[in-house]
Symmetry: C2
Amino acid sequence: MKIKYTLLKKDEKTDARRGILHTNHGDFDTPIFMPVGTQATVKTLSPEELKDIGSSVILANTYHLWLRPGELVVSKAGGLHPFMNYDGPILTDSGGFQVFSLAKNKKKDIVEEGVHFKSHLDGKPLLLTPELSIEIQNKLDSDIAMSFDECPPYPVTHEYMEKSVERTLRWAKRGKDVHKNENQSLFGIVQGGEFEDLRKHSAIETVKMNFDGYSIGGTSVGESKETMYKMIDDSVKYLPTDKPRYLMGVGDPIDILEGVQRGIDMFDCVLPTRIARHGNAFTKHGKINIRNEKFKEDFTPLDEACDCYACKHYTKAYIRHLIVCEESFGQRLMSIHNLRFLIKLTEDIRKSIEQDQFLEFKDAFIHNYKK
Amino acid sequence: MKIKYTLLKKDEKTDARRGILHTNHGDFDTPIFMPVGTQATVKTLSPEELKDIGSSVILANTYHLWLRPGELVVSKAGGLHPFMNYDGPILTDSGGFQVFSLAKNKKKDIVEEGVHFKSHLDGKPLLLTPELSIEIQNKLDSDIAMSFDECPPYPVTHEYMEKSVERTLRWAKRGKDVHKNENQSLFGIVQGGEFEDLRKHSAIETVKMNFDGYSIGGTSVGESKETMYKMIDDSVKYLPTDKPRYLMGVGDPIDILEGVQRGIDMFDCVLPTRIARHGNAFTKHGKINIRNEKFKEDFTPLDEACDCYACKHYTKAYIRHLIVCEESFGQRLMSIHNLRFLIKLTEDIRKSIEQDQFLEFKDAFIHNYKK
């Protein structure tokens, strides 16, 4: 069965919307933040811990799983869900982003067929094509797959981006044509960089192909915040209201609020777990670095307002000690906290939309966060 | 309140014994294996996971906690228990072993006062004395503290070992004289290397000081298994039956069985968690390395006979994938499994003593394990 999006409520003052996405592995409320389980594990966390922090959908990376352990191993295990002992909804990306960002020496050769590049692990030459990306994702058996797209660097010329958008459209069509897994939904991806006309063209042509949902790609590549928000505006307005919209790779709390305001339903990012491992924690008053000497004898939780396992049982002083000593339990406590912070943020956002208080909530959150 | 040892049953055919140790943070059954929480955390695990695997007492390292975060920070937190959110019994070592094994460039200067050495972290010159070791342990507020002893390398001459034993006896006395924490018990340590006369002398003189329990040190330093077992024999026979006996740094399953047979009640070792992080798992048929290619598509648990969280929910193929990718969740699953294996072993040992079947159990276990 394919996913189904139910729009519960549209905000009166903005494009924010409250919905539910129905999948074969359960429903989840939107807007939602999705933790990233790059290699079929959300770094440092168990599936039970993910449920404890309220996570209802996670992402896994096709590129990484293709290389290790290989999609055939996952397929023989019965797919990603049994392989990693996770029974909730799983989304896979196309591998495109990793090919463009991780390829050895970042050298790659983009041709009509796909992308030639070298493995970031052993330098082995590889070719990823739209068909292969879909085939791998079919075997991984995620609930939602992504079309294979080109992720151009920033900035590029209008001329380059135009060609790239056309190729991404052809790749989307080729991927859709070979997509066979009836229990897996497929999203199209809107590209076009910061060019309004190309975003429009990419969105309209992608929607014509009738995907199960739409992603907005090509943000968070070095552009200014204002440009990023405009990219969202220039894309979302051409997307149907009865399908979910997913802003890829965005996990900054303020960007999530700005995205929701523009009609985004789904977000993912490695940011909360990556910065956690380096000692950075979200708090309602912005980020803190727990390595700071001033926390050495601070026996209060990371964030007094937080209801996560780390904040309920551990102090800044203890977590600081663990992070300074590079103990993985410290990275785990920090990851739990940061993920809970973003998931709680989307819970609060959903409540605020239900109560027609989204803008007020957003302003108050940002006011506190920047204080 | 000090600890109290209750002897429940003595094996008829061997020196194996079944008992209970009563502490201010609960009782635990002996013989027992104690996971090592070097830096106030059992690497990769939460306190809840420790309880899940049946762990009833853990060890923490005085040397590491002295350096980071410092005993004063732990003391201000209210001691190790609140600092690390662990409410079960905690034992601390004296720091001696680490000073001898971790000192920068392994250079150290042993004088009557104590040991001059350089920090393994930053090379800073440090002096650890018997009094300071006890003072630090008092502040850490563990349930059981260890006397500061010299851990000579192996082999040394009888002449050197004799001097070392005398010094360790003087250090034990000095430490006992300054031990003030009425809620903390203090163990004496029997040294003497492989010399029967020195083990006897060390044991008798240490027992005269009337400690709350006795450790056997200086094993697992490179001697043969036969020599190690003889060191235990030569020490235990002079120890009182109404106090617990602790064989330090031993965690090999067969060594645990041999130790129990000789009257040992407590064991600790970093082995199960250290080898876990490198991909080695205990099974009833001996150790396996999960990195082995043959486990790539093995969708069975690490050990069919095991009841741990890792074996109940995850396959060798998945854990192999995590370990190969250096994902800490893999190290966590392996650590859970290996610790559960040793804790289950001591549970089975206790049952076998109760049922007058210890030797039969030991023989069957070893027969399987070496197969």
